[in-house]
């Protein structure tokens, strides 16, 4: 911004060029090293492998090829097949659907918690976090039991007439989304709550003073203020949810292949590392692309957030 004066004293000290470098190295060095060794280098490795060919007995070897990517796009050994594009689409739908449901559930919840008297707020936040204390698998199995034909939930639903008595609620898409929402809700509630806590209510009053009714006050004066939390929360849900395959497997009846288990299959049973790497890379690309679209849209609505 403003032209910094040469040799300006910051933080009450003046460092030489070498001192600056040393300080940077000591403070940021370890984390940069960590990210490089354990994230960046493996990622480059995966990227390289995705262009290699599967070896005779697994592993990978030359020549370089685009084959793994074209195969994923649908041109397989047996002509064109939508199998893999469908997998990626399914993961996008699962991720986006979960994010949407979590958002709808988290909005009222975050406002409710923020409206509680001080001492109940922390209690409520702890309650939101409690599911994290239980292993994901155990929670998911618990839903299997809760949604089984003879459980009281299923019976109650049948009694209301939503399903035939005796039919189970699981496996089904419904069960999958129940499991997903329960799993990812805290990820969006927490950032959203911190945004709701910071709301400047005088802005809502100003909107009302200027003629906005309740709905428009929310839309024009409150929603823009919680946008940062909402965006962060949706991203935190969207990314892991798109890679999730355990929950769809356990609650969907193990019939559907998602991005996650497609990758796992290639590195495991199929021993096709190059193809697995290609799926992983494409999956990452899809996540980044959806984040980009989302950020652009949210950015339009919420101003300079991202």
């Amino acid at each position: 911004m403003a032209n910094r004066h040469q040799g300006e004293v910051r933080f009450g000290e003046q460092l030489s060029a070498r001192g600056q470098l040393l300080r940077s190295a000591l403070t940021s060095g370890p984390s940069i090293l960590w990210v490089t060794v354990f994230l960046l280098l493996p990622l480059v490795g995966v990227g390289v492998i995705s262009f290699l060919t599967r070896g005779e007995a697994g592993g990978y070897e030359l020549p370089l090829t685009f084959g793994n990517y074209t195969r994923f796009a649908g041109w397989g050994f047996f002509g064109y097949d939508l199998l893999y594009p469908q997998i990626i689409l399914r993961s996008i739908v699962l991720g986006a659907g979960t994010a949407l449901l979590c958002m709808l559930a988290a909005l009222p919840l975050a406002f409710f918690i923020a409206a509680l008297p001080g001492r109940y707020k922390n209690l409520a936040l702890t309650l939101v976090l409690i599911p994290f204390w239980t292993n994901l698998l155990i929670r998911t199995y618990a839903w299997q039991i809760l949604l089984a034909p003879e459980s009281w939930i299923t019976r109650a639903v049948a009694l209301v007439g939503l399903i035939e008595p005796g039919t189970p609620l699981y496996p089904s898409a419904f069960a999958i989304y129940i499991g997903m929402v329960c799993d990812y809700l805290p990820f969006i509630v927490l950032p959203l709550y911190s945004s709701v806590e910071k709301i400047d209510w005088s802005i809502a009053e100003a909107a009302s003073d200027l003629g906005a009714d309740g709905k428009r006050v929310f839309w024009h004066a409150i929603l823009p203020q919680v946008m940062p939390g909402l965006v962060a929360g949706v991203i935190l849900v969207l990314i892991p949810a798109m890679g999730q395959f355990v929950i769809p497997d356990l609650l969907g009846g193990a019939k559907t292949v998602m991005l996650g288990n497609a990758i796992q299959q290639q590195f495991g049973p199929s021993r096709d590392w190059p193809f697995g790497s290609a799926i992983a890379f494409l999956g990452m690309g899809v996540v980044l692309a959806s984040l980009w679209f989302y950020a652009r849209y949210a950015g339009e609505k919420g101003g300079e957030i991202i």
């Binding site: 400047d200 005088s202 802005i203 009053e205 100003a206 909107a207 009302s208 003073d209 200027l210 003629g211 906005a212 009714d213 428009r216 006050v217 024009h220 004066a221 823009p224 203020q225 946008m227 919420g302 101003g303 300079e304």
Partner: protein, 359 residues
């Protein structure tokens, strides 16, 4: 002359927060086109009264009429009033133009008309150059102008201002006071102005209501209020005042002679039936003279304890025996004003300047 409907009529308004009366049976009538100030320290209920008029707070009892219409059933977003908030409360995600257009958009005014009115108001408060900025890119004074423009563009019949200049530095505040006043005269909109700054209230208002603990303590034109405070509270909140406890010695046709801690004084005007009351005199009405210099009634020997020189005038802390007195004098002489700490002097308390208070 036909009786004009008041812009705002408040009757017996009560607003309670727990055990505290933020408004304790407040009644006030504000005329059309008037610059009316609610003056008082924080917590006196002035902002609550403003919020009740704006519909942002709901009174527990009492009636509010806006232009003669009972406003109790009208929700905030339908009242013909607009508010300038203390914190400005600008929409952070909208540009200056977007902020100002908001009210008209909510009322579904046609686009070309919105554009035209927004432009006119931006010119009026001199922010046309800032049209495309976001609030975060504005200075305090600029934000204040945007907040003002956002309210007046709606052409409300009453504009409510909640300490709009409170966050600005002194110089800017004084400039904007003058501008705001000029704007009010030009637009002819009724202004209800909340402030804790007595000088601001005096400079700007047609009438002032001094509030204390949820009640209006005294109401009147600026000059009348300053020259004739009726209670200790008003006399010391609106400017400063010397207070003297007085006992009646002798009643005369034009007033009375009273005994105070500084000696016997002659008082003019109507004297209450009580024999004990409090006298008030403004420091600038206390005339400080050198011993032996000029005559006059109610003369008291004093010692100069403190001299506070502020350029155009000097404030003196004096002691008449044990009774402290303050005096203020314009520095009209050329050179030294003639009083030093520790010096003996005489003050003259003109009978007309001695006010009898109600409490």
């Amino acid at each position: 002359m036909a009786i004009q409907t008041p812009a705002i009529e408040v009757e017996n308004l009560v607003r309670q927060f727990g055990d505290v009366f933020a408004l304790d049976h407040v009644s006030v009538s504000i005329r059309k086109g008037e610059f009316f100030s609610l003056l008082g320290p924080s917590g006196c209920g002035k902002t609550t009264l403003l919020r009740c008029i704006g519909g942002l707070d709901i009174p527990d009892e009492g009636v509010i009429r806006i232009d003669g219409t009972d406003a109790r059933e009208i929700p905030a977003h339908k009242r013909p009033v607009n508010t300038v908030f203390q914190s400005y409360a600008l929409f952070p995600h909208l540009t200056v133009r977007g902020n100002i257009a908001f009210g008209l958009q909510m009322k579904k005014v046609a686009k070309p008309e919105i554009e035209e009115r927004v432009k006119r108001v931006m010119d009026m408060v001199q922010i046309a150059k800032l049209a495309d900025r976001k609030p975060a890119q504005l200075s305090g004074g600029q934000k204040q102008r945007v907040a003002l423009a956002r309210a007046i563009v709606n052409e409300p019949s009453v504009l409510l201002l909640d300490e709009p200049l409170g966050a600005l530095d002194l110089k800017l505040r004084k400039e904007l006071q003058i501008e705001l006043l000029a704007l009010q005269r030009r637009l002819g909109i009724t202004f209800v102005y909340v402030t804790h700054d007595q000088e601001e209230a005096l400079v700007m208002s047609d009438r002032i209501a001094v509030m204390r603990a949820g009640k209006i303590e005294q109401m009147g034109e600026a000059e009348a209020l300053y020259e004739n405070p009726r209670t200790r509270y008003v006399s010391t909140f609106l400017g400063s005042c010397n207070l003297l406890e007085a006992t009646v010695r002798q009643r005369t046709p034009t007033g009375a002679v009273v005994q105070t801690t500084v000696g016997e004084l002659r008082v003019e005007g109507s004297i209450p039936d009580r024999n004990k009351f409090t006298l008030a005199i403004r420091p600038e009405k206390v005339a400080l003279c050198a011993p032996g210099e000029s005559a006059g009634e109610n003369r008291i020997k004093v010692k100069v304890v403190e001299v506070i020189y502020i350029g155009s005038e000097t404030h003196y802390v004096l002691k008449a025996g044990e009774q402290p007195l303050s005096a203020e004098a314009m520095n009209v002489k050329v050179g030294h004003q003639g009083f030093d700490i520790g010096q003996d002097a005489v003050v003259h308390l003109p009978a007309a300047g001695l006010l009898v208070l109600d409490d």
